[in-house]
């Protein structure tokens, strides 16, 4: 897909590596925009953003630098109608924690990573609920939070499959370049 047997010279090569570096961010952003399409599934946008950020933070942190996470969080907050900044903060926190523990996580089997992600998603939903409550100064309904939790943990295997393939493709292209 992105691999070239012969390294492209100069300008093309720079573009190539730039595209490769931007790929995770672009995939996450496009997935979020698609999730925001009116198909009748609420709170799908955060449920897509969270696995993407988590996956790249664990397996390829260089592909998901903090500014990119910030951008995704901003996109999420603008796409959904939650108060601005909550998504940004949660995604940055998930990114930071996943980065810190990635040495342990990256070596584990898929199931363990998924379980760890479940923990992350629980914390993220709880934090989102708490921030929502503090910012709006009233107790929001708890069902959307549970919905987000279930949706993101359920979506993670499918997204992880897709992202693993992308990850392998990028790595192959890196090695070829």
């Amino acid at each position: 897909m992105f691999g070239r047997r012969e390294p492209a010279p100069g300008m093309m090569r720079r573009l190539d590596s730039l595209a490769r570096a931007a790929m995770p961010f672009v995939i996450a952003a496009v997935l979020m925009m698609l999730a925001a399409a009116p198909v009748g599934v609420p709170s799908a946008v955060p449920a897509v953003a969270l696995p993407c950020v988590f996956f790249w933070s664990v397996f390829r942190p260089a592909a998901m630098p903090p500014p990119a996470v910030f951008g995704l969080g901003l996109l999420q907050d603008l796409l959904t109608f939650s108060p601005l900044g909550i998504g940004v903060f949660i995604l940055l926190l998930v990114h930071g924690l996943a980065m810190r523990w990635r040495r342990h996580l990256a070596r584990q089997s898929f199931l363990v990573v998924w379980l760890a992600f479940c923990g992350f998603a629980t914390v993220a939903s709880g934090l989102g609920f708490a921030l929502q409550a503090v910012l709006a100064w009233m107790v929001p309904p708890i069902v959307p939070g549970l919905h987000l939790l279930g949706l993101s943990t359920g979506l993670y295997p499918a997204l992880a499959f897709l992202l693993t393939r992308t990850h392998a493709a990028i790595r192959a292209a890196d090695e070829a370049a």
Binding site: A37, V39, F70, F81, P83, V88, F89, L92, G96, L131
Partner: protein
């Protein structure tokens, strides 16, 4: 690209996360302080993305249609069973009706019975609801070639709705049977007893003045009565009105077949005779001629 020394770059990379988290808090405060700005940003993003969503709407709609189709097919099975059952029942009814019809023709032939002419009717559209002098009345639009007279009865597709009380050049007012001013002669179909159906501005008019010894039975069909006295002249007999319902407090009411809350077309029956009396005729009845 600016070339930085490696330690500086590492320090920047380590610093960027806390700084960005601080910025996230900043955006939270900003969103709290300036909701308008956030709304504008949201709308700008939505505007930018709307062509994508518009393009997505086609396949999404197609998928939704397909799922709806599948669900419909599943439902079809149950519907089929129910319809078959109902068809069976209706077939039995049809057989009963045909047998009765045959019997009726036979009896008529034996009695030399001259049947009443089938009442002719015209259809007019309801244009306005309520208002006017009465609490329960509708306004009909009548064309120039639609002859409508006072006192003609109006039915919707199910049953009796009311009578024409006022006529203008292009419209006619129909007083519904639920109005408190409405009095209708009716026949209880089971006992053939006459009664008066009086409106009381609620959904179910009351039954009054049934003859002694006869009680309206719960669920009994009520049809119009062909009362050819002057006040009720022009009312065809046997038009469906409703069924008898007893209230818990012990009053006989009529549950109307007509759906008076959603009238759109009314059939105006022409039965040839003059209808409601002008008020002065009620106030000063004509003196009787000497015999």
């Amino acid at each position: 690209m600016i070339r930085l020394s490696i330690p500086l770059r590492q320090a920047l990379a380590r610093l960027s996360l806390p700084v960005l988290i601080a910025v996230a808090f900043g955006t939270m405060l900003l969103g709290k302080a300036d909701a308008l700005l956030v709304d504008r940003a949201r709308m700008a993003l939505a505007d930018a993305l709307s062509p994508i969503y518009a393009a997505l709407a086609e396949p999404v709609g197609a998928i939704r249609d397909v799922t709806e189709e599948v669900r419909e097919l599943v439902r079809l099975r149950a519907d089929n069973v129910a319809l078959r059952e109902e068809n069976e029942r209706l077939r039995r009814w049809q057989a009963a009706a045909l047998a009765l019809e045959g019997e009726v023709t036979l009896l008529r032939r034996q009695l030399a019975f001259t049947p009443e002419p089938a009442p002719s009717f015209r259809t007019a559209r309801v244009v306005a609801d309520g208002g006017g002098t009465y609490a329960r009345a509708v306004l009909l639009a009548i064309g120039p070639n639609l002859q409508v007279r006072k006192g003609q009865v109006a039915l919707d597709e199910r049953g009796l709705a009311g009578r024409v009380t006022e006529i203008g050049n292009r419209s006619a007012r129909v007083l519904l049977v639920t109005d408190i001013n409405s009095r209708m002669p009716v026949t209880l179909e089971g006992s053939r007893a006459r009664a008066i159906m009086a409106g009381n501005n609620s959904a179910r008019p009351r039954l009054q003045h049934w003859p002694e010894g006869v009680l309206p039975v719960e669920g009994e069909r009520v049809v119009t009565s062909s009362d050819q006295s002057q006040a009720f002249g022009g009312l065809p007999a046997g038009l469906p009105v409703g069924v008898v319902r007893w209230t818990p407090s012990g009053a006989a009411e009529v549950e109307l077949y007509a759906r008076l809350d959603r009238l759109d077309l009314l059939r105006i029956f022409d039965f040839g005779l003059a209808g409601i009396l002008p008020p002065e005729a009620v106030a000063r009845p004509e003196p009787r001629r000497g015999r």
